[in-house]
């Protein structure tokens, strides 16, 4: 159950909040959509791995190798359980969300898509769920259509329904936009796609860190996300894929660990998921990822989501009344903890720079979603994004900072 008091202590789980910014400023970190901060627990798990358990995983016949393998594979089991996936073999480790989507495009996409096949994407997508499909489109002469969005940045499901009549082979969409914060109805979109005979890939980079995600219920065929946005380390991410699909797909990269047998004539592939995991993976990062899941579960994803909902309401309310400030995207109840905005006559770089002087970290630019900014006719926006360690004081600091910005440019 959500208790506001509980969250007051959470900042102290994250060592970085002990440091000062520009000598004496408190860190007001509002850039978690780019990457989250890491709790002591995760840092310790990785430190402990290197100090006490370090070895390469799989096949080693010594205590350290067995221990390292167990720690790494335990993380896979934790992740499966976290997402309500019954068979952990469907959790493939990658470097990040981007690599996960590329893996799906390069293996499933290049094998099963033919000339003129249609892929549906949405206007909301991050470059990582656009460019891999553009590359595939060029290589295989595919077609891509975009599901339209409403002026407030929600998917137009009527338009989606109409596009489905063209029998797309794949629908790929973001579970939560990193610009507008829009949370898309993943289960409905997936069900509609399946009824039209299309497979579904979901970019979960912004969703898995922030609210409960049940992959069995959503029923997507592929689901991608990264550890570093959910209190875990950089360098490790996941592609979930349905087992039957993974079986039909060719391997991704070639090398050690992805093979069963190699001769001078050729090779046979290893079992799933190892077939897609060539070379020594990010082992310590896997261990850290497992620790991050444990940490998030110790608080509870429902609880985290509630805290962020409250803060998002608070932030939207506070920013709404600011003169000349325009928030992109839907109302607070339809979005996660991401608030992007523009200010009349002031470039986001200048806003971010002035906020930085007070220790406030926001992001300024197109947030890897250039087409979406073009769609909204904005060269760039300033984005404040929230996580479990943020508080109302952080939002208050942002509002005070924006007053300073306005003063400089008055």
């Amino acid at each position: 159950m959500y208790q506001k008091e509980q969250f007051k202590k959470i900042k102290s789980d994250f060592p970085i909040f002990q440091r000062k910014i520009h000598k004496d400023q408190r860190l007001v970190y509002l850039d978690s959509a780019a990457t989250s901060q890491k709790p002591e627990l995760v840092i310790q798990a990785m430190d402990d791995f290197y100090r006490n358990s370090n070895a390469n995983i799989h096949r080693g016949i010594h205590e350290l190798a067995e221990e390292a393998t167990r720690l790494y594979e335990d993380a896979r089991l934790s992740i499966a359980k976290f997402l309500k996936v019954d068979d952990a073999r469907q959790i493939i480790f990658t470097r990040n969300t981007t690599e996960s989507i590329n893996l799906a495009a390069k293996t499933w996409g290049s094998t099963f898509l033919q000339k003129d096949d249609l892929i549906l994407l949405t206007r909301l997508e991050h470059h990582s769920n656009l460019v891999p499909w553009f590359m595939l489109k060029e290589a295989k002469n595919l077609r891509i259509s975009f599901i339209e969005i409403t002026p407030s940045g929600e998917l137009d499901l009527e338009h989606y329904g109409a596009l489905l009549e063209q029998k797309p082979k794949l629908v790929a969409f973001t579970h939560m936009s990193n610009v507008t914060g829009t949370i898309n109805p993943a289960q409905t979109i997936t069900k509609m796609a399946h009824e039209a005979g299309a497979l579904v890939l979901i970019d979960g980079a912004q969703s898995v860190p922030h609210f409960p995600v049940n992959l069995t219920e959503i029923d997507a065929d592929f689901y991608a996300f990264s550890a570093h946005k959910m209190c875990g380390p950089t360098g490790i991410g996941v592609l979930f894929g349905k087992y039957a699909l993974l079986e039909q797909m060719p391997p991704f990269l070639g090398g050690g660990d992805m093979i069963r047998k190699v001769t001078y004539e050729g090779f046979t592939v290893n079992a799933i998921p190892y077939k897609f995991e060539a070379g020594t993976p990010s082992i310590a990062e896997g261990v850290g990822f497992g620790a991050a899941i444990d940490y998030l579960e110790s608080i509870g994803m429902e609880t985290i989501a509630e805290h962020e909902q409250e803060l998002t309401h608070y932030a939207m309310q506070a920013l709404k009344d600011e003169k000349g400030l325009n928030i992109v995207g839907p109302d607070a109840e339809k979005r996660g903890g991401v608030v992007s905005f523009s200010m009349d006559g002031i470039h986001p770089h200048d806003i971010a720079q002035i906020l930085d002087a007070d220790g406030i970290a926001v992001r300024a630019g197109h947030h890897c979603a250039m087409p979406l900014h073009q769609h909204f006719n904005l060269p760039a926006t300033t984005r404040a994004s929230l996580y479990l360690y943020n508080s109302e004081e952080d939002i208050d600091a942002l509002v005070r900072g924006l007053a300073k910005v306005r003063k400089v440019f008055a």
Binding site: P348, H349, D350, A364, G365, F409
Partner: protein, 131 residues
Amino acid sequence: MDDLYREQILDHYKNPRQKGQIKPSDHSFEDENPLCGDFLHIDLKTDGQGVISDAKFEGQGCAISMASADLLLESLIGKTIEDAKKLSKQDILDLLGIELSPVRLKCALLSLKVTKAAAYDLKEADDNLME
């Protein structure tokens, strides 16, 4: 921060002296910095002897990029196209009179790139011009 947004820079951002277009111009170029969504178009007019008689810009961007364009063009009037070709990163920094982080340096140097590309009558932008 106070340094970055000192009076002179804000003044050139809010009240640009060289904003506008010159039609017809003798040398023109435009480019963008897609990372920031910045855009800059520069027109140069010469007196026939290679001396810059007027210089104007149109664009959108942050205070640093727009002020740097304004300061640079203002400083070029009365100089020659050959002088413009020889401009360096340091000239821009001297005009601005501030230190810049690597990201903000890109904002400031868009005007250098576009001005030199115009002076050289280039067809395409070249990042080497920002040195």
